[in-house]
């Protein structure tokens, strides 16, 4: 294809690049619009409709949402759940993945089946709810973490990564008298940073975005993470509440405030994304191709 300068080929290239550019823009323009709209006034928004770069700047929406403690509190809850949950999940997943990555573990195949089967079939929402209730997690933030502590798919990606490390690394460590825990923490983990970073990102994003478990397990609205709050402010305040009676009688917030809450619920993901992006494509592939 290199050096192919025929008209057909150029037309093909041009069409292809244009379409891809359009697809890429369609993916992100809505986010940019919301971001821009959150920094302007409702008047400008009403006039211009589609704002990509505000002419009138205003921080009013942010000033408003940060003046009430509802948003701040749910932000703090989300941050706490994300940090704590990611650490907890990574700890459990790494230990399990490493144990299962060792070929000399008797019963390995059976244990893998035990885990993979849970990806195919599960008890469903109600029986799981009853277990969460019986383990005393209902209405506590731990309910957002412990019942989903290990994602089988993420764990298998880690396991595949560990399995593909050169066997010599572990053997030489063992000869030097290193214990299994020593091998894991001093050799395997430091050598697996791309995979660890990728899977941590996956867990962190899941915890930040958690919504379903919050509405299932937390009835106390003072414990709601930011995603639940966002739904209250944008979806329910539009008068579209399906289940009724959840929303208070406050007047529907101004459109710029809705925009600002969307931004607030999104920004942390966008901040970590560029740093980890170089890892995740590689990390996800290693697992999925060889898993």
């Amino acid at each position: 294809m290199v050096g192919d300068k025929s008209f057909g080929s150029r037309l093909f290239n041009f069409t292809n690049l244009t379409l891809l550019a359009i697809i890429a823009l369609l993916c992100v323009l809505p986010f940019i619009h919301v971001l821009a709209a959150s920094f302007t006034t409702s008047a400008e928004l009403a006039e211009k409709r589609f704002v990509l770069f505000p002419t009138v700047w205003s921080l009013d929406a942010y000033r408003y949402i940060f003046s009430t403690d509802t948003v701040m509190r749910s932000m703090m809850i989300s941050i706490g759940v994300t940090l704590g949950g990611t650490a907890f999940s990574m700890f459990l997943s790494t230990l399990t993945a490493y144990g299962l990555s060792r070929q000399d573990l008797v019963g390995r195949r059976f244990i893998m089946f035990f885990i993979v089967f849970t990806m195919l079939f599960n008890g469903g929402m109600i029986p799981t709810f009853l277990v969460v209730q019986q383990t005393g997690l209902l209405n506590s933030l731990a309910a957002l973490v412990i019942p989903v502590a290990i994602n089988a798919f993420n764990m298998i990606i880690l396991k595949s990564f560990f399995q593909n490390l050169p066997a010599g690394l572990e053997e030489s460590a063992k000869i030097d008298g290193c214990s299994d825990f020593g091998i894991l923490f001093r050799i395997v983990i430091p050598c697996s940073m791309p995979a660890i970073a990728t899977i941590s990102l996956f867990y962190a994003v899941t915890y930040w975005n958690t919504y379903m478990h919050a509405i299932l397990y937390l009835s106390d609205s003072s414990k709601w993470p930011v995603q639940v709050l966002l739904r209250q402010i944008v979806v329910l305040a539009s008068g579209l509440n399906y289940d009724g009676a959840e929303f208070t009688s406050v007047p529907p917030p101004e459109i710029t405030i809705k925009m600002a809450v969307i931004v607030v619920a999104t920004i942390p993901v966008l901040i970590v994304y560029p740093f980890l992006q170089k890892y995740f494509a590689k990390g996800a592939l290693i697992g999925s191709m060889k898993g």
Partner: protein
């Protein structure tokens, strides 16, 4: 026995993980027996009365069930027929890009929506689709048409659902196809070029057959998710006006079970869904093996 002893630390390492799977995955499977009981929370599983298949009978004879079944099936069909091919097409298009900078930038941008929660995706759709001041309706009005109440309209529910799925997942879905394409032997393309194949024909006759097994595996996995259409996504879009096309098994289990307290009945609904999903995966896997592919399980 000696090797078990030798590896006692390894077993200690996996013990917490296995405990997790046991408690939060296998005990709920045991809990499915409440589908055959008249479960009362204060009596528990051991104390509640057995009612056999009563809840399933109620399920199969209710008109609601067929509405939900149909809705679930339609959304699933949209996922397979409309959504599934799109990542493959985008991956093929990206593969033709020679400018690495451009390719990387497009990839970076199209992956982003995958990392947003459904709440964010739905919220952005809401502010853009809303009747008073939403950009989409402003454009429709400017073009001289009637505004459309997208959010409370049964006719727009399904297009809205699948477009949001595409927006959030299509870019991310390209990752695995791109990797599979990268593994194709370049000599095949050289040979095809000698035979005078242009780039479209090369994609059709070489790239697609070469990544066939990856496509099949992902299709099986997708079918495995068959009834996991996303409780969150659908629940966020549901309202009283579009319920007749939007209510699916998961949202129904939630409302009937947790909101209305019909634990046994909604467990039966969830159980039915789980069994159908399992059978579909087995079937897809069997079909793939018949067709000479490896299968997943």
């Amino acid at each position: 026995m000696r090797s078990i002893k030798k590896n006692k630390w390894l077993y200690l390492m996996i013990a917490p993980g296995l405990l997790y799977f046991f408690v939060y995955k296998y005990i709920p499977m045991y809990g499915l027996i409440i589908a055959f009981q008249d479960y009362k929370p204060y009596l528990g599983i051991t104390g509640s009365e057995w009612v056999g298949f009563q809840h399933f009978e109620r399920l199969f004879t209710s008109p609601e069930f067929w509405m939900i079944f149909r809705n679930t099936l339609v959304l699933f069909a949209l996922q397979i027929l409309v959504f599934f091919p799109i990542p493959i097409i985008i991956a093929l298009m990206l593969n033709e890009v020679r400018n690495q900078m451009f390719k990387k930038s497009v990839q970076t941008l199209i992956y982003i929506p995958h990392f947003m929660s459904w709440v964010v995706i739905v919220s952005i759709s809401f502010v853009m689709l809303t009747l008073d001041g939403g950009i989409i309706n402003s454009v429709i009005e400017a073009l001289g048409f009637q505004k459309i109440n997208f959010l409370m309209n049964p006719d727009t529910f399904r297009p809205m659902y699948i477009l949001q799925v595409i927006w959030r997942e299509a870019g991310w879905g390209t990752i695995i196809f791109l990797a599979a394409i990268a593994a194709v032997d370049p000599q095949l393309y050289e040979a095809a070029k000698m035979d005078g194949a242009n780039r479209l024909r090369q994609a059709w006759h070489i790239t697609l057959p070469a990544i066939r097994s990856v496509i099949v595996v992902l299709l099986i996995l997708k079918i495995g998710d068959v009834l996991e259409l996303g409780f969150e996504h659908v629940y966020l879009l549901l309202n009283a006006s579009n319920r007749e096309v939007g209510e699916i098994f998961d949202t129904y289990v939630y409302t009937a079970g947790l909101k209305q307290g019909q634990f046994s009945y909604s467990t039966a609904v969830g159980f039915f869904k789980g069994i159908v999903g399992l059978i579909l995966v087995m079937f897809a896997n069997w079909l793939a093996k018949k067709a000479g592919e490896e299968g997943v399980y």
